[in-house]
Amino acid sequence: MEPHTGLVAMHMSDGIVNAPISVLFALIAVLGLAFCVSRARRDLDDRTAPMAGLVAAFVFAVQMLNFPVLPGVSGHLLGGALCAILVGPYVGALCVSIVLLLQALLFADGGLSALGTNITNMALIGTFVGYGVAVAMRRIATRSRGGLLLTAFVAAWVNTVVASLGFVLEYALGGQGLALGTVFGLMTGFHALIGIGEGIITALTVGAVAAARPDLVHLTRTSSPSLQIKTTGVRS
């Protein structure tokens, strides 16, 4: 049993939030992921399924790359907006969840009892709010390359900050050790800075994919008329 050192604990550990609240958020995570599985199918075909697997692998890789934001404080990609823009929110939430699950099971990163809270914050809240921002900016994103990069940056920044607010909520309900106001101030302050890094990484990645394979960017692809008709057909 070696103590944690340096790089390596990136997500909430067991015990940070008490058992009842951990169970509550595990339930929320399970329900949310079940909904995502039921909706993911419409966004997955022979071309996008391998892409989604690669996006998950990419998020795993980039989450290892902690970048400094303040003296003694680093940040890393969460990846929700990145995934949602590239492969859609339902598949995207599953990508982030698989990364979090494997990190907890294989890499001792993020407690097993904290999987519900970590998935709720990063895979559900971060991904869907980030996607909502990206959809709200879709007319800007489809207008020019600069617009797409700006959209990716803003969606990713918001995704980081709202994910940190998820932690503040869980801490308010079932945590102890530090005044809630201090937790709120530090979490949002740090993540407002980390969000800049998340925004840059997301914009660079989305920009690179859009330049090479614009057909593999979910956000801008689904704005095409043909696919809107197809989607309407599926819903009716």
């Binding site: 070696e2 697997g53 692998a57 890393h76 599953l94 990190q103 530090l186």
Partner: protein, 118 residues
């Protein structure tokens, strides 16, 4: 069926492998934003464990999979193996996520339009 963009997929995988296998050695060793908050108020020992004061991290338990061969992004706890652990992680993530998504996908008909299946 339209041709799959295999070269693009291979490029993505190569980038992920390089980031996890090589660039990961340059990652910051400082606690991330969340850990910095949970450690606020505590004095830490060299291993980053809280030894005095009051902070959120004192409530954290030993990780249930701390004995995993890949724990803490190393291979068996050996120093300098972060890149190897990262490469394994990328490949396992690709296999699990890619496998799940391949099973969940809509099957394409020859014209490329989704067929009504199942």
């Amino acid at each position: 069926m339209k041709r799959l963009p295999l070269a693009f997929y291979a490029g993505c995988l190569l980038v992920a492998l390089l980031l996890a296998g090589v660039v990961s050695y340059a990652a910051s060793g400082s606690p991330d934003g969340l850990d910095a908050v949970t450690q606020t108020g505590c004095e830490l020992d060299e291993a980053g464990e809280p030894v005095g004061g009051t902070c959120i991290a004192q409530n954290a338990g030993e990780h249930a999979t701390a004995a995993s061969p890949l724990a803490d992004y190393t291979v068996g706890g050996a120093e300098g193996t972060t890149g190897v652990a990262g490469v394994v992680g990328v490949l396992v993530t690709l296999a699990v996520a890619g496998g799940l998504f391949w099973v969940l996908r809509r099957r394409s008909s020859p014209s490329g339009t989704p067929s009504r299946v199942e």
